[in-house]
Symmetry: C2
Subunit: 424 residues, 2 copies
């Protein structure tokens, strides 16, 4: 394997490399492999570790005597609030337990802001424009909510310690139509970047032109460590200390702790925010699934026990992340065809191809039987300005399939890069 | 007990009756009873009949090989769709399975109509006014959705076979701001009225000025028979035949079949409607709780088995309904102090006091320790024009407590009536 930068090869060398890669590619294609690495789905093996969360519930009478089979307790069972509080170092009273998906709580929050507003400010449907800051690459489903609801998205680049805070502060301070920001603060989707304490504090204390500026803090991977533990500063506390207690909605769920779709979600918020949330929630439903809250708790038990469980899940992901990173290193290091982050937790590895090569890489991989997240997905409006970011989701395929898929993937990255220079 | 109409008593007779009732009332009050009949909650005994629905799930691989522990299947598992289809004589392909609450699906539908509209018509947020027809007395949580979202409610009186259809047809045909109607077509909440075939057909085929007129068909008690079975005409079919396939959203859930809050909800709708629903649902969530769908199915098995289960639930409610109706008959028949319906299923008995006596009756009952649904709750904006309708929810208390509560209730109805005439 040639370790020189592809960009520095002569046309003759490029032609030779291209021929070699094309041959390897065709060979792979002939094998008729079918692999899906498009979404961050846990593998069956990983799900097997949570079978206790599919158990029966016989302890349906709660600490305060309520029958959890019946109606009641709109904001969740006290046991679950305490559990989340212990796990995330939050206050139990700040927590509202929701249904099976924190995404749904986020969507509902956005709809509520649009229809009813917050803090006495105008509902967002009644102002001329609403913009959201979108640190990118980011989570496609966050961006989809904004797009669906007509909220204009502003791309903010990601740095090593979170979004470009100079830019965030400037936009928030100067433009009153900038009403909020999406954040996945720990092991960000897709890069695995962790927000520094300084980033957290700057978000909590920055000057905002919009009095109803809101941080959508999606701590989806808050305890999803793989290579050791990374601490995240408590933004609820930072906001309180900065005198902006109402600025943040803190979302979390057990979807990637037990079962995707059959877990328990929560939102933590200030008293003012909780009042608004519960006012609408009480219209929307009589209550969420308390039996599933109890079922999930029966399995997870407490914060310490959950951390042990996450250690097992982390270990089962570790080998996969190592395969991804080792394959990238072996095949792409030194070629200049791509750069990537080495995350210490979460669910993804993000890679940047040469500008203009992401779509082609993904097309090539799909043609050879490996489905990846569509190019552009990690940017608002599916528009990656450089056409370079690709999200790799290693959790689902078994290790041997992942090895194959990553081998092909690297081949496609290089092939796309070589073609780019050849056609010049 | 005097069986003459209270309105026909002389002042002296009224004074004597009043003294007698006051004495009985004070006696009851002294006993310090505490009973809650405010909501339609099943009793613990009834919930015990569904403990199979709290069981563990080991059969998480579906008919088509999907792992129900994982993401996927936004519109629900095929087994659950087929189950609902068999149970309600619907088409499986028309069904979208939701979360634990059909109320949430209704709320989401309304929000979707407001934010995005339907059938290419303007979103309801962009038209000057939106009105909904509200057959009343009706379900307070339906009315709360309209009130919360700023939709103006028009009261339509209930008749023996459903809403006053002459009025419904006239309003729908003449006023294009009338965009829909709430219906609980079988054993209506709170009167237990069943819509006749003619009512169903008229709703399905009537001329509507608004092209985006929508029927919110909340068949909450669709299989909740108590005294024999009442058939409900299939409105999906009627709408199709009338050339208005998109007019209706059909809601149902297992909340009052297994556990309130831990059941499975559904909406059935035409292909056009389903496309719109799924478009937004796919932004709102990655999917609902498929494990709970499987868990619920493991217990309910199939339509026939579910009907047997409902027979048991019906039998456990029968005695309670008989206590309510017998106590009303014994204490109020002939007094002219109240009229009431004798429902053949569902969850409630509705009673009308003399005009202006509902609030006072409920106040008196509360003061003596029996909590009832607040007066006015069965009308839009909590405004019962006659202050006469009271919803009795007999499902929760054990039979002996129910007897006591109903005895007191009748006392309060009479006391309020007597006071009304005395103060004249």
């Amino acid at each position: 394997m040639d370790r020189r930068k592809i960009s520095e090869l002569s046309q003759a060398e490029l032609l030779a490399l291209s021929a070699e890669l094309e041959e390897q590619y065709l060979e792979f294609k002939k094998r008729g492999v079918k692999l899906d690495m498009s979404r961050g789905r846990p593998s069956a093996t990983q799900l097997d570790l949570s079978m206790g969360a599919a158990g029966g519930v016989t302890n349906f009478v709660g600490v305060k005597g309520a029958d959890y089979r019946n109606y009641g307790l709109l904001d969740g069972i006290p046991e679950m609030k305490q559990f989340f509080a212990d796990l995330l170092e939050l206050e139990a009273e700040d927590i509202i337990v929701g249904g099976n998906a924190s995404l749904n709580l986020m969507y509902d929050a956005m709809v509520r802001l649009i229809l009813r507003g917050t803090g006495g400010e105008k509902p967002w449907k009644d102002v001329k424009e609403v913009k959201f800051l979108c640190p990118s690459p980011g989570y496609d489903r966050h961006f989809a909510i904004c797009e669906h609801l007509g909220i204009r998205m502003i791309v903010v680049p990601m740095k090593e310690d979170g979004p470009d805070m100079d830019m965030v502060e400037k936009l928030a301070a100067e433009d009153e139509t900038v009403k909020g920001i999406w954040c996945v603060p720990l092991y960000s989707n897709p890069q695995g970047i962790c927000y520094s304490d300084e980033t957290v504090d700057r978000l909590a204390s920055m000057k905002c032109a919009a009095r109803d500026f809101r941080i959508f803090w999606d701590n989806a991977y808050g305890i999803h460590h793989i290579f050791g533990e990374t601490k995240l500063k408590n933004i609820m506390e930072s906001c309180r200390k900065a005198g902006n207690p109402d600025r943040v909605y803190y979302f979390f769920s057990t979807s990637k702790i037990t079962f995707p779709g059959a877990g328990v979600a929560m939102v933590a918020a200030s008293e003012n925010n909780r009042k608004e949330i519960l006012r609408t929630m009480g219209i929307q439903t009589i209550g969420y699934d308390k039996m599933n809250q109890m079922r999930t708790l029966n399995f997870l038990k407490n914060a310490a026990h959950t951390r042990e469980h996450m250690k097992r899940l982390g270990d089962s992901l570790k080998e996969k992340f190592e395969i991804v990173l080792a394959t990238l290193d072996k095949n792409l290091a030194g070629t200049g065809a791509a750069t990537w982050h080495s995350p210490r937790g979460g669910y993804f590895v993000a890679l940047d191809t040469l500008p203009g090569c992401a779509k082609e890489t993904i097309r090539l991989a799909a043609e050879a039987g490996v489905k990846l997240t569509p190019a552009g997905s990690t940017y608002p409006y599916h528009m990656d300005p450089d056409d370079s970011n690709i999200r790799i989701a290693p959790s689902f395929p078994p290790c041997d399939e992942l090895r194959e898929a990553m081998y092909l993937f690297c081949l496609c990255v290089k092939l796309a890069a070589v073609r780019k220079f050849l056609t010049k």
